[in-house]
């Protein structure tokens, strides 16, 4: 990055008002959210009969969407915590965006799981009658825990930036400055404050890795502790963690590219950063590919009849288009593209990011629904339509609304928060100046 002075950095990184595109984008998201809320109210009034979930396909896109959000939230553990603990300084311009994605994804995961509940008014019963033997209870505990830590992960490093913004907007936007001041918690950058902040960030960075792994593992165990074809696997925990690695980094690349382009941050987020993220993503994809081979190849040798039917339906049958789409678009092609240096340039990376995110979403669908349609005992005594599952209009509208809501949270945070840490960038700039001879 070229040398830039304090004012230029603040000017470049300060939150900006939406342009026309931003207003249209936000309005469209709000409309989708409102339509989704109406559909959800209708679902509450009429019951889950408005969905296409029935006796056998009792988990549909709500659950696969939930698993996707949970997976995406893993980006915080990877990019922020792991890269911090391994002293990878190239993370600086990317961490804030990763933190925002993490918080948005985990909040939406919590909401999505409630949407799947037939009686959301009985939510408290999950706590009152909690059984620690049940992975559902672990999930009920870990999701709010992750929300709390993700919030703290975003908030602690923000404090110096909020104080800078308070000062910066004091004359031009006094009201906004007041809000930044309140949120900055009297941050002056004193030694004592910095000591508490540094210690807290270190604790969060250490915490979010096991919490992230727990979250992904519990999510996997929701499936693997159920004796079902395709889920009954000891591979599931690691399989989900590697899948979350892919989904998280894929989402990060996509959002980083868009923000960089819209906010003209090419000086701060360079090709070098995309190259690094590309390498991280290809590592994630290769790891995930390894676990996919474990997950689908071994049953070919050892499968009982039912597992064989299930695999056949995935590879050649009813679910083959989605299965191959998620494997080829979401995994094989990204690996091939990212192996080459040219593939790790911003635009190809953006395309790869979208491929990975869309592939990851459908991969969750492949994990959740086909298994339910292949029970050990034959499906009997139900209408023919219950042998198959395709989401209803209500399910699509509500799921689209959850996605729109996640985008809306990200958009609003990008609007009001500095997407690249200002203080950290300034400090790194100071380190680069010839007369300074200090180390971080």
């Amino acid at each position: 990055m070229a040398m830039r002075n304090y004012d230029t950095i603040i000017h470049d990184l300060e939150p900006r008002k939406f342009g026309l595109g931003g207003v249209i984008w936000t309005s469209v998201l709000i409309v989708i959210v409102i339509i989704g809320i109406i559909a959800y109210i209708d679902q509450i009034i009429k019951g889950q009969v408005v969905t296409n979930m029935r006796d056998y396909a009792l988990w549909g896109i709500y659950i696969s969407n939930f698993v996707f959000f949970v997976a995406t939230s893993f980006v915080g553990s990877i990019t922020v915590a792991v890269l911090r603990l391994t002293n990878n300084t190239w993370r600086t311009p990317l961490v804030r965006i990763a933190e925002i994605i993490t918080l948005a994804a985990i909040v939406m995961a919590g909401l999505t799981i409630m949407i799947d509940m037939g009686r959301p008014d009985r939510l408290l019963n999950l706590f009152i009658h909690a059984r620690l033997q049940s992975p559902i209870t672990w999930d009920v505990i870990i999701v709010p825990t992750s929300i709390a830590i993700s919030f703290l992960l975003l908030y602690f490093p923000l404090l110096p930036d909020l104080a800078i913004l308070k000062k910066h907007f004091q004359k031009s936007k006094p009201k906004l400055s007041k809000w930044y001041g309140r949120l900055a918690l009297n941050w002056t950058g004193s030694k004592e404050q910095k000591a508490v902040q540094t210690k807290s960030i270190m604790i969060i960075a250490l915490m979010i890795i096991p919490v992230g792994i727990l979250l992904q593992t519990i999510d996997a165990w929701l499936f693997s502790t159920t004796y079902r074809i395709g889920w009954d696997s000891t591979n599931m925990g690691a399989y989900f963690i590697s899948g979350a690695f892919v989904a998280g980094v894929g989402a990060l690349i996509t959002v980083v590219y868009l923000i960089r382009r819209i906010r003209h941050l090419e000086t701060y987020i360079t090709d070098y950063h995309f190259d690094k993220m590309g390498k991280l993503l290809v590592l994630a994809c290769l790891t995930y590919l390894y676990f996919n081979i474990n997950e689908y190849l071994l049953p070919i040798f050892t499968a009982p009849v039912q597992e064989d039917i299930h695999l056949d339906a995935l590879v050649f049958g009813e679910h083959a288009p989605i299965f191959w789409f998620s494997q080829i678009i979401g995994l094989f092609l990204p690996i091939i593209i990212l192996i080459f240096k040219k593939g790790r340039k911003p635009l190809p990376m953006f395309i790869v990011g979208i491929m990975v995110v869309v592939g990851s979403w459908w991969k969750r669908y492949v994990i959740v629904t086909p298994t339910l349609l292949h029970p050990f005992l034959p499906i009997e005594g139900v209408p023919e339509s219950w042998h198959h599952y395709f989401p209803s209009l209500h399910e699509w509208l509500i799921t689209a609304a959850t996605m729109a809501m996640a985008f809306l949270i990200i958009t609003l945070m990008v609007r009001y928060l500095p997407v690249i840490p200002i203080q950290r960038t300034i400090e790194e700039q100071e380190l680069l100046t010839p007369d300074k001879n200090t180390e971080s």
């Binding site: 620690l132 941050w187 002056t188 004193s190 807290s200 604790i203 915490m207």
Partner: protein
């Protein structure tokens, strides 16, 4: 003048139709055909316990045999030409009812020591009147457990209570009381000898709760004596070891019986994580206070 005549005729016709409205109804109303009810009555006596009549009401409607539910039946003790009402009972949804009497001394036999019981239904909108009578004599079964040459046997003696005489040539069943259906002991049935007795070998190794076998000796649906049953507990079975995990801490038990390792480790993790989260929130307050 053709017109006014036609008009008057038309008015009279309409008024007539209104006035004779009820009449029309009567003409059009269907006279519903009532169905016949078939009553089945069984007399059952359990020695030293209760005596009851199992009653079942059914009807053939169309091609189907239908159980008749919720009908009131009167039970009578018939002695010569006299009928003494014992009480009433109502059929359940399966068309069944059980009328219990505490003791046979509450009813009177006729001059031949035969008890005559009548069950009648008074009819309703859907079903015709119906009645059914049964006759029976009182019999006693006395079952015993005996041990001979270290083998266990069940013996039973069948008596006609009215004459205090032994009944020979009657068919008795020895069975074990089980949850769904009884389990036969030895032969399917035994015929009483000239002493009114049967003997059935009780094999070793039959499982029972605490080693107790609930034995029943039954005379089923006898033409003269009905169904008579005697029960005894034979403490000669192999005790069933209760393998239920109901009271244990298992992965499938309710939350008050969670396995200890699942109570300790997850709670430690939860306490650790939330302890740190609270500490971090506290640090935010600390930063707020450390402004200078």
């Amino acid at each position: 003048m053709k017109g006014p005549i036609k008009f008057h005729f038309f008015i009279i016709l309409i008024v007539g139709m209104f006035l004779s409205n009820t009449g029309f109804h009567n003409v059009n109303a269907q006279n519903p055909k009532k169905n016949k009810i078939r009553l089945k009555v069984d007399y059952v006596k359990i020695m030293n316990e209760e005596i009851y009549f199992n009653i079942k009401a059914s009807s053939k409607i169309g091609k189907d045999n239908v159980n008749v539910a919720n009908i009131e039946l009167a039970i009578y003790n018939e002695i010569d030409d006299e009928e003494i009402e014992l009480g009433t009972t109502t059929t359940n949804m399966n068309g069944e009812s059980r009328f219990v009497i505490s003791d046979l001394s509450t009813i009177r036999p006729d001059s031949t020591n035969t008890y005559n019981i009548g069950v009648s239904f008074n009819g309703n909108q859907s079903f015709k009147k119906a009645s059914k009578s049964i006759s029976f004599k009182e019999a006693h079964i006395e079952a015993k457990l005996i041990k001979k040459d270290s083998l266990n046997y069940i013996t039973a003696t069948l008596k006609d209570a009215s004459k205090d005489s032994l009944i020979s040539g009657a068919s008795l069943t020895v069975q074990l009381e089980r949850l769904f259906l009884p389990l036969f002991v030895g032969e399917e049935f035994y015929i009483t000898d000239e002493n009114g007795m049967i003997t059935a070998l009780l094999e070793d190794g039959i499982p029972g709760m605490d080693g107790n076998l609930n034995i029943e000796v039954v005379m089923s649906d006898n033409e003269v004596y009905g169904t008579v049953k005697d029960k005894l507990i034979a403490p000669v079975g192999t005790p069933i070891i209760d393998e239920s995990t109901f009271d244990e801490r298992t992965m499938w038990s309710p939350n008050n019986k969670t396995p200890l390792f699942l109570l300790i480790f997850p709670n430690l993790i939860i306490a650790g994580m939330w302890g740190l989260i609270i500490y971090l929130v506290f640090n935010l307050f600390k930063i707020y206070k450390l402004k200078n």
